[in-house]
């Protein structure tokens, strides 16, 4: 197999590419009207003939591992199987060729999809309102926190602080900062969940009145459900603050419990995780947000309503905080969510969540004597190990991850969450078979055994059999080369 693909600019040239025949001339219509900035310039694009084109990208594709080809247990990323019917549905002619500025009358099919997805997300979360325009999880967080800020502003309440647990995704504090909030960390207790004693103290009296919201991932990034979630919600609400739930890990709960029931005021959903849309090597995703009644008036536009037998896009409301994206949200990803939910039904979603949790606990049980578990209780859809055992046998978390590549697996999430040392977060998802899990466990055991037998060097230098060996990231950052030179 070819693992040394030339760049497009080394391989192609300016005179190659497809044929575009221009049969008429500007002079037929009075000459060009490009104005004073018109200029013919050498852009530096490189083209390929079609045979070269197909081979270039096919060879590049062969340098990628993906869910289709291998177990991909990235914690907090929910790399489940991406049903191909989703792709077919999203690329249906009538959807693919709809224009975002066509009148509502001309796009009733698109609007029906959006409306039904809004309703299904409201149902699964128990919430009052859903918007689909955010483009990804972090964008959904921004949407949720801006809605909260708008609601607080409307009631004349200038709170300044957002609380995040130390186990939070990096996007949570980054989002809060983008909304002009100060960030304060809440410690996690020895069980891996929010220290509610600390939280109660923090939210008590006058100082509690400066807290706008808590952002909580639940199940959290240790793979644990926040057992005291209702207490957390009560404490926040008593202090006049809002409860934002990062729904990145909703795969453990869908069809089983509705977050509204435990007091959540707003939460985003990652369609590209929980609802089976593919990640596409980094996107596009979709991060719809659902809201409790207390926030429903302040949500961003656009969203879809159904009135008098017709679907209609709402572009403006009296109290909305505004618009956060071009057009109507990542529509094809939204179609995939509807396709998935329709295929699964509510019982199917529940079973998926159960199987995801079962798979994670199975890996936990099988590896409990091989790697160190910082938190012993049953986990949800992902299981967290630290590097205590590995350091005793002279290898690191990174070494294990790289050695797993040689075994044909995509590694787990490593060094996150930050609250345990050398974290390894394994999320198998429900779409993996027991045989795959067994093979993965065996691979980890083999690597650990190898280290124990004194062959650490072989692991330090892994991977050996991948398209590239370990790459020099320091060089890349210190002497950045971000574009091709030729």
């Amino acid at each position: 197999m070819e693992f040394n693909v030339k760049t497009l600019f080394e391989e192609g040239s300016a005179d190659k590419g497809t044929d575009v025949y221009v049969k008429k001339s500007a002079d037929d219509f009075g000459g060009i009207r490009l104005g004073e900035a018109a200029q013919e310039r050498n852009i530096g694009l490189s083209g390929l003939s079609e045979p070269e084109f197909v081979r270039h990208y096919t060879q590049l594709s062969q340098e990628n591992i993906c869910v289709d080809s291998a177990f991909y247990p990235l914690g907090s990323c929910t790399m489940k199987h991406n049903p191909r019917f989703n792709e077919k549905a999203a690329s249906l002619y009538g959807f693919a060729h709809s224009h975002p500025f066509a009148p509502d009358e001309a796009v009733q099919g698109c609007l029906e999809v959006m409306y039904r997805v809004q309703e299904l997300f409201k149902n699964l979360t128990g919430m009052e309102m859903a918007v689909l325009s955010p483009a990804a999880g972090a964008h959904g967080e921004l949407c949720g926190i801006m809605t909260i800020r708008q609601a607080l502003t409307h009631r004349g309440d200038a709170r300044e602080i957002i609380l995040v647990p130390t186990s939070a995704h990096g996007t949570n504090p980054a989002t809060a900062a983008m909304c002009g909030y100060k960030i304060e960390q809440i410690p996690v207790n020895e069980k891996g969940t929010v220290d509610t004693k600390y939280l109660a103290e923090r939210l008590s009296g006058e100082k509690g009145k400066n807290v706008a919201a808590l952002m909580l991932t639940n199940p959290n990034t240790c793979g644990l459900f926040e057992e005291e979630v209702q207490k957390i919600a009560d404490l926040l609400h008593k202090a006049g603050a809002f409860f934002y739930m990062d729904g990145a890990n909703f795969n453990a709960l869908m069809g089983i419990a509705a977050p509204a029931d435990f007091g959540v005021d707003a939460m985003h959903i990652n369609i590209h995780k929980t609802f089976s849309a593919p990640h596409g090597g980094g996107g596009p995703g979709s991060g719809p947000v659902v809201f409790a009644k207390s926030l429903a008036d302040y949500v961003p536009v656009p969203f879809v309503v159904f009135e008098d037998g017709e679907y209609r896009i709402v572009h403006q409301t009296p109290l909305s905080f505004g618009r956060m994206k071009m057009f109507n949200g990542n529509f094809p990803v939204i179609v995939k969510a509807l396709a998935y939910m329709s295929a699964m039904g509510s019982e199917g979603l529940k079973r998926a969540a159960q199987d995801a949790v079962l798979n994670a606990n199975y890996i936990k049980a099988k590896l409990s004597n091989v790697l160190n578990l910082p938190f012993k209780q049953n986990c949800m859809h992902e299981v967290l190990f630290d590097d205590k055992t590995l350091s005793e046998i002279g290898i690191t978390t990174l070494d294990l991850a790289k050695a797993l590549q040689d075994e044909g697996f995509h590694p787990m999430t490593v060094y996150f969450p930050l609250i345990v040392h050398g974290a390894m977060l394994i999320e198998p998802t429900e779409t993996e078979s027991k045989a795959t899990l067994d093979a993965f466990v065996d691979a980890i055991k083999r690597i650990v055994e190898k280290a124990k037998s004194g062959k650490q060097e072989e692991i330090h230098s892994a991977p050996h059999f991948t398209p590239r060996r370990r790459l020099d990231e320091t060089k890349a950052a210190r002497q950045p080369v971000l574009t091709a030179s030729s």
Binding site: T7, F9, A14, T18, V20, F29, G30, R33, L34, G35, A37, Q39, R41, L48, E50, S61, I65, C66, V67, Y72, P83, F85, K88, A89, G94, A96, S98, H99, A102, A106, M146, I256, A258, G281, G282, G283, F321, K325, F327, G329, F331, S342, A343, G345, S346, G348, L358, N361, Y362, Q405, H410, P463, R468, R469, L471, D472, E473, P480, L482, A484
Partner: protein
């Protein structure tokens, strides 16, 4: 359940291994289960769904099927079959952000090629590996300019797409940044004059602007730099850049664009693709992911995500942005499209668009009561329907199966008689006849 591989036998063995009696035991920590909040809904098989989705999709007027002159930031272009086929490969479709470079070179190299193309297209030094869309990219550019200059005022030209201006306003409203959007009608008539003061962190202008006009932005850039502000240029039609001075030559410090129209089908406007490029000296202030070249342990060239210390997973609240997931596959689509076209193909496609737009403009100019407002344009221009409502005209033409354009009244309160008309290579002679007849 076709997407779930565990058999009942597997589950029994697994529960035994775990040491619990049932799956429910694993959910003991979760409150409020099965309390009736979630209303049951049925599952369907794929055969049924296939019919159902097809029917829903047919409740749309596909822009392909009718004469369609809609643009306003979403331009309809042909997308190559070879690229469509390659993008459906699981290796591109079902991989994650390339955190493990040894087994993600495919994605990484394409992102590197994409960054190069975007940099060259704008004339700027570096580009990131994509943002969600042009509007969010424009907001990020404003935030970046404020970080660099230490100032907090953004002036947005009235010629910037109103949804982009609106997203900048929305996303800065709760921050220190003050956003001032100029009046749109002056931009429409070419009378806008922006004179940034010393408090100004950046000026945002668009080329071609929302109304289709193409102005040489060099003087504005100079005024901007004299005031110590950065100049941000937005474009929603990358194809237009083939026929004008490079944005860097006009003085752009940061350029952001919408790649939607060249990255596949319109898909009801989503998912977008935010192009983002800047001058080299600002690269460490950029938002989003960057791919850089390096070598592996054997000295072989390879690519990695780089300068991650700008990003949220490392810097948390001090990050340059909260962005994580971007528009990776759309960036790949955009890159493939440009590779398929090549330099000549790209320029020819641009010429074809302009010539078709010239044809429509010249024919509409001969229709009574229709006036082209623009002095210059690429593939879209604004028509004034002297005294008539553009919205009413559009709805009248929809009934005749023609999507005539986007009325400016969809965006502004005082622009009833203006219609935006976009013409691309997808418009046939018959389309053009139908439009001219309808008007």
């Amino acid at each position: 359940m076709r997407y779930l591989p565990l058999s009942e036998k597997d589950k029994k063995e697994m529960l035994l291994e775990i040491g619990v009696g049932s799956v429910d035991d694993l959910f003991k920590s979760v409150p409020c289960k099965d309390n009736g909040t979630i209303k049951p809904f049925a599952a369907s098989d794929e055969i049924t769904l296939s019919k159902e989705f097809k029917e829903i999709s047919e409740n749309n007027i596909a822009a392909e099927d009718v004469p369609c002159f809609l643009g306003a930031g979403a331009y309809r272009h042909y997308f190559p079959a070879a690229a469509e086929y390659l993008l459906s490969r699981g290796e591109f479709l079902t991989s994650y952000t390339p955190y493990q470079p040894e087994i993600s070179q495919g994605t990484l190299q394409i992102m590197f090629e994409y960054q190069t193309q975007v940099a060259r297209l704008t004339g700027l030094d570096v580009a990131n590996s994509s943002m969600y869309d042009s509007a969010t990219a424009a907001f990020e550019a404003v935030a970046m300019a404020c970080r660099i200059t230490g100032k907090n005022k953004a002036v947005v030209s009235g010629g910037v797409h109103p949804d982009i201006a609106s997203v900048i306003e929305t996303c800065t409203q709760f921050s220190k940044i003050e956003t001032v959007v100029s009046e749109h009608l002056k931009a429409l008539t070419g009378e806008e004059e922006i004179n940034p003061d010393a408090d100004c962190a950046c000026v945002v202008a668009q080329i071609p602007d929302f109304f289709g006009n193409i102005a040489d932005l060099t003087d504005l850039a100079e005024r901007c730099h004299k005031a110590g502000a950065l100049f941000i240029v937005v474009f929603t039609e990358p194809l237009a850049l083939a026929l004008v001075k490079s944005l860097a030559d006009m003085g752009a410090d940061i350029a952001v664009g919408e790649g939607l129209g060249l990255a596949g089908n319109l898909n009801f406007g989503g998912s977008g693709l935010g192009l983002f490029a800047c001058r080299k000296e600002y690269m460490r202030n950029m938002p989003g992911r960057l791919v850089g070249e390096t070598v592996d342990a054997d000295g072989k060239r390879g690519f990695v995500l780089t300068m991650a210390t700008r990003e949220q997973h490392i810097r948390r609240e001090k990050a340059t942005s909260n962005i994580c997931t971007n528009s990776g596959l759309n960036a790949a689509a955009f890159s493939m499209h440009l590779a398929w076209l090549g330099e000549q193909g790209f320029k020819n496609l641009a010429r074809l668009n302009h010539i078709k737009a010239l044809e429509v403009a010249s024919r509409l100019e001969s229709v009574e009561g229709v006036k082209i407002v623009n002095h210059s344009f690429f593939n879209e221009f604004t028509v004034c329907l002297e005294g008539q409502s553009a919205k009413a005209t559009v709805l009248r033409l929809v009934e005749r199966g023609v999507l005539a354009g986007v009325p400016l009244s969809d965006f502004y309160g005082n622009a009833e008689e203006y219609l935006l008309v976009a013409v691309t290579e997808m418009n046939t002679d018959e389309d053009i006849d139908a439009l001219v007849r309808g008007m």
